[in-house]
Symmetry: C2
DNA sequence: CTTGACCTTCCCGTGACTGGAACCCCTATC
DNA sequence: GATAGGGGTTCCAGTCACGGGAAGGTCAAG
């Protein structure tokens, strides 16, 4: 398979696939013309990576997951530990975003939103009011 | 005021303040020795930026907010529109993260997490199972 | 033989900084 | 006067995960 076919099937841009090869996530073969020749196993790895990225795993986490995927003697506990650590990260980001959202909603509610210049949003940002930062 | 004093008061690293000057967010004066000389107004702007960044506004959004802050004839509606647009972005990110979290929690729950190699997390990532991506 | 689609590498740009090197300035002490 | 230290300055490179685009090789069809 050539790169664009793989890209379509995996749902990734060709550029991204070249990048993944460059950083050693995948190692496709090469044809005599210099074109990358993707095997089914490369395809599967790319789909795997695409889904892991879709769940928010970083490239380095994907690398670890791929290593476990390839290691037939792995312990599922190791995979679960990685996933649970990532869940903690996700939960932390959600908490941060919800705090931002709450603060900003408070400011927006207080703002008339008309033609006048008085704006509680700006004064809230300027004065370090009690309604501030996460 | 010199840069480190301002940095301490605004709760920003000195490096960040130099960066903000470089991109034109602030324009502190210069003393005869080449040192930056921050006025109170620079201080206020930096605190303003720090809080806006803490609420997740991008640098370019901060630039717009600062312009409105400086414009005594602004309409609060303009500020409110910016804030509401940002709230939409935040809500979108929260939704994405919650979807990731839900999917990953489902996989983690299904995983025994013992010494055996069988792992629903890995097969879930590999097989594009029905329990997948946001 | 040419056209056009595909492939290749290479290099620069993104956002918002962070780290480090190399160097100037100011004060205090010996 | 020399020196030590704790400021400050600039510039360069790196981060993360790619994306854009140029310059050029390859392939199948007409």
């Amino acid at each position: 398979m050539n790169i664009n076919e793989v890209a379509r099937k995996a749902g990734l841009p060709a550029k991204t696939i070249r990048y993944y090869e460059e950083i050693g996530l995948i190692r496709p073969l090469r044809g005599g013309n210099g074109y990358r020749a993707f095997r089914d196993s490369d395809m599967h790895k790319l789909s795997f990576i695409a889904r892991a990225r879709g769940l928010g795993f970083s490239i380095e986490e994907c690398r670890k997951l791929l290593a476990l995927y390839d290691d037939k003697g792995r312990a599922s506990a190791d995979v679960k530990a990685l996933a649970e650590e990532h869940l903690v990260q996700i939960a932390g980001k959600i908490r941060e975003l919800r705090a931002m959202e709450a603060t900003l909603q408070g400011l927006v509610r207080a703002c008339a939103g008309d033609h006048r210049p008085d704006c509680p949003i700006l004064t809230g940002l300027a004065d370090a009011g009690d309604a501030c930062c996460a």
